[in-house]
């Protein structure tokens, strides 16, 4: 018994000490790695130093691929092109301008700025409202092909197919280049590591999981993707600069599509989304390749290809997945992640100008081809109102919700929020007008924890730290109430994918409420919930509209529920607004009875 007690005491103190320890871990690992790599040229032979210099440059690229693909979900072959542009910019600058310190600085600047500018253009092309993940991959595939062909067509300027050789480079020896690329690799990995562990790093995963939810939290996933593409293109260009100096050769293959696929293969084998996996994987594979491909060139490629296929199918987490499983099987490996505390924050003052309607819909009509879904809808909703939208399936309720929350949806008529027209506005900009939307099927970030989901819900107000983690998340009291009533406040460290259906619905509602919207759109928030959960959500909604003056539009099938909480009911029938009145007027009307008993179709 005493042993047990001491064990509990130990684990308790370890838990308290761990957050600080784990925050320091990247720096400790980086310092150790830097020291070891500084000393490495003293013990390695010239061949190994030479090969590993290249391997570490490639590993720096692998870090950028991992950030894009492993964390953000953008499968890219384009990092090779940015690398090639950086390398060629360096080689051309050094060939035609010279290698004096001034021109070297110019070459360095060019090697970063040119790929970053290209990355900005590529990002703009790849990511737009409603773009697909596949389209971004298509562009990333076209890019290296185009860059390679431009290099071929550059004639003497780019050395065409033979590339550029023999330009003057940085005055470093073999060991110097080894240390330079080691330094670049450690710095890039450390920066990436700190970033992905920060609050902003959660946003990358959120974009990968559910970019629609990001947009409806008022974040701009596309802008994040474009910024990331441009920034990492600059990093790839920097790697190209070091490569051109270290090898004093650049060739079209350095920018090619095949090199782009190799980078992806290294990252996949090492373990996407783990940073250290791709770094170690790249160094190991490239080093092995240099040693083996001389003796058994085709067999090596064959083995690599076969392993790659097997890893993709059987072990999507790569070799790092094995390491992680072993680690978590050890007693010291099982640590709870960092979880911030929830605190209440004072709510924003209630909406001013309570007299003017918050939401105005005028003559809204929507059709798909010859099928008219909505016709001639006029509606006004004021602050503090809870308007329920009822009607049979196919009446156009969800379509109406979509038209209200996405101004790029093609429809006729006008929608304005607080006097501002939503025409042409993407969802994130409509959210900025004070609109929150809850979807019919709970839309949360499956691979993030409950706390991280809430953190992202506050991101458009409070921002996200790119280097650290906030100790607390300040939520409005209404959101806290939803969490408390559903018990989610005790499950903050739980990944959202493990929540029950009802808990996910409640989490999404809490996220939307945390936005502090002036107008909240709810599409069947109680579908599939138990009676108790339904009552909880109803109470939360009543508090929001009654006490805080939020306007709510609710799509709902359950007439009893609607009757309990609504201040007004609107009936949609066959795409038209059939009734608009108080609860008593509508529930008692002949029309509602015939619609719901199906007689209207007879």
């Amino acid at each position: 018994m005493p042993e047990d007690a001491s064990a509990i005491g130990l684990s308790g103190s370890a838990e308290r000490g761990r957050p600080r320890l784990s925050r320091a871990a990247p720096f400790v690992v980086a310092a150790l790695a830097a020291a070891a790599l500084w000393a490495a040229p003293l013990v390695l032979d010239a061949f190994a130093v030479n090969v590993l210099t290249r391997s570490m440059i490639y590993a720096t690229l692998a870090v950028t691929v991992d950030l894009l693909w492993g964390f953000t979900g953008i499968l890219t072959f384009g990092q090779a092109a940015f690398f090639g542009v950086g390398a060629y910019a360096t080689a051309m600058a050094l060939s035609y301008l010279g290698a004096t310190p001034e021109w070297m600085a110019v070459a360095l600047a060019l090697a970063v700025v040119a790929p970053a500018a290209l990355g900005l253009a590529v990002g703009w092309l790849s990511f737009y409202h409603r773009s697909t993940a596949l389209y971004a991959s298509v562009i990333s595939l076209v890019l290296p092909i185009v860059v390679t062909q431009l290099i071929y067509s550059g004639g003497e300027w780019t050395g065409s197919s033979s590339g550029l050789v023999g330009f003057e480079v940085l005055p470093l020896e073999l060991e110097g280049f080894f240390r330079l690329s080691a330094f670049a690799l450690v710095a890039a990995t450390l920066a990436a590591w700190v970033f992905v562990r920060s609050d902003a790093g959660r946003a990358l995963v959120a974009v990968r999981d559910n970019d629609a939810r990001c947009a409806y939290l008022g974040l701009s996933p596309k802008r994040l993707q474009i910024a990331l593409t441009a920034a990492l293109a600059g990093v790839a260009g920097l790697a190209g600069f070091i490569f051109a100096n270290a090898s004093s050769v650049v060739a079209p293959e350095n920018a090619g599509f095949l090199f782009g696929t190799e980078l992806v293969i290294w990252v996949a084998l090492g373990g996407r989304g783990t940073l250290l996996g791709p770094v170690l994987g790249t160094v190991a594979i490239d080093y092995l390749a240099a040693n083996l491909s001389g003796d058994l060139p085709f067999l090596w490629q064959l083995l690599l290809g076969a392993t790659f296929v097997a890893v993709i199918i059987l072990l999507p987490g790569g070799l790092a997945e094995i390491a992680r499983r072993v680690w978590s099987a050890l007693p010291i490996g099982r640590s709870a992640g960092f979880t911030p505390r929830l605190v209440a924050r004072s709510s924003r003052p209630a909406a001013d100008g309570a007299g003017a309607p918050l939401l105005t819909i005028e003559g809204l009509a929507k059709s798909y081809g010859s099928l008219t879904v909505l016709e001639n809808i006029d509606l006004e909703v004021r602050a503090g109102e809870l308007v329920s939208l009822v009607g049979p399936n196919g009446a156009g309720k969800t379509t109406l919700m979509r038209c209200l929350s996405d101004g790029t949806e093609p429809f006729k008529g006008a929608v304005s929020i607080g006097g501002v027209s939503t025409a042409g506005l993407t969802p994130n900009r409509i959210v900025a007008l004070g609109v929150g939307r809850k979807f019919q099927v709970a839309s949360v970030f499956e691979s993030l924890t409950v706390a991280d989901c809430l953190l992202l819900a506050r991101a458009s107000h409070d921002g996200l730290s790119p280097i650290g983690r906030a100790e607390t998340i300040g939520l409005p009291q209404a959101a806290l109430n939803v969490l408390r009533m559903t018990g989610l406040d005790r499950m903050l460290a739980e990944p959202a994918r493990l929540l029950s259906h009802g808990q996910k619905q409640a989490l999404e509602l809490a996220m939307v409420v945390a936005l502090e919207p002036r107008l909240i759109l709810l599409d069947e928030p109680t579908a599939g919930l138990t009676k108790a959960e339904r009552t909880t959500i109803g109470a939360a909604l009543k508090a929001l509209t009654g006490e805080l003056g939020v306007a709510a539009v609710l799509v709902e099938h359950d007439l009893d529920f609607v009757r309990e909480i609504s201040s007004r009911i609107v009936v949609l029938h066959q795409g038209r607004l059939a009734l608009d009145g108080t609860v008593e007027e509508v529930v008692g009307s002949e029309l509602v009875r015939t619609i719901y008993s199906g007689a209207a179709h007879g």
Partner: protein
């Protein structure tokens, strides 16, 4: 005149090399990045047929059968576990392509192989001498297209395939064995790719990596066609014409990237590409 024939035959060759990829993408919603490897397999079937002393044309059915059989194996062991991970399927098939390329290199060496021309010489057509074989390729594209259209429109498999394309969950609910439809479609798509490989032998050099260049063009064409077979034909004509004209009047280098760039721009402007028309 020469240009018009070039445009038509180029479009035909593009169509032949893309149709297998389109079939697979349409039904499985998966991009087969080993498509290039299957083209290579087909071309090496022609090499083998020549070594065995067979009639060069016998290579075509041989390639279709070999390609389809290998396609069946690939579907069972590689594609099937990745139905729900389409981006991973791109990678796994790319890896498969590497494996196939290296196996071919081990078997035949990395050098360029020569095959007997299926139909040498030129014919007089509308006042110009034109390569007889390119005209044959045009005919082959029409035949393959017609056969494909017949399969889609006129057979039970085609009906099932169309159902799967439109709504896979519903098709399964109606008792269509969607796994079998996917399996057979992948075999046909792989077989068509190999057939294209044979038809390419008189036009392109045969080496273990020959497929990669064709893969990119086919991939871009399929992307703008959005799984529609008529849209693919239209895309081949338009982009084939662009490639021929840019190569002739601007520079062959720009011609070689014309399809990729134009297709990317088309998709940016209209995400459904040519299938809307």
């Amino acid at each position: 005149m020469l240009l018009i024939l070039d445009v038509l035959t180029t479009a035909a060759i593009l169509f032949v090399t893309s149709i297998g990829l389109l079939a697979i993408f349409g039904v499985l919603k998966i991009i087969n990045f080993a498509h290039g490897a299957w083209i290579t397999i087909g071309a090496y079937c022609a090499v083998v047929a020549a070594k065995l002393g067979l009639n060069p044309w016998a290579a075509a059915p041989l390639a279709f059968v070999v390609g389809a059989a290998l396609g069946g194996l690939a579907e069972l062991f590689i594609i099937r576990p990745l139905y729900r991970r389409p981006l991973d399927a791109i990678l796994a098939t790319w890896g498969l392509g590497i494996v196939i390329g290296q196996l071919i290199t081990l078997g035949f060496g990395r050098d360029v192989q020569f095959t007997p021309n299926l139909l040498p010489g030129a014919v007089q057509l509308l006042g110009v001498d034109y390569s007889a074989y390119r005209l044959v390729a045009l005919g082959a594209a029409l035949v393959i297209g017609a056969a494909f259209a017949f399969t889609i429109e006129g057979t039970r498999l085609g009906l099932s395939a169309r159902a799967v394309i439109m709504n896979e969950a519903l098709a399964r609910g109606l008792g269509i064995d969607t796994a079998r439809v996917r399996f057979v479609t992948f075999m046909i798509g792989a077989g068509l790719a190999s057939l294209a490989g044979v038809l390419l032998t008189p036009l392109a050099s045969v080496d273990p990596n020959m497929g990669v260049g064709w893969l990119i063009g086919a991939f871009m064409l399929v992307m703008v066609s959005n799984a529609s077979f008529l849209a693919l034909a239209a895309a081949c004509l338009v982009f084939g014409a662009a490639q021929v004209l840019i190569s002739a009047f601007v520079s062959p280098i720009f011609g070689s990237i014309a399809i990729a760039v134009l297709a990317a721009v088309t998709l940016r402007i209209s995400p459904k590409g040519f299938s809307r028309a």
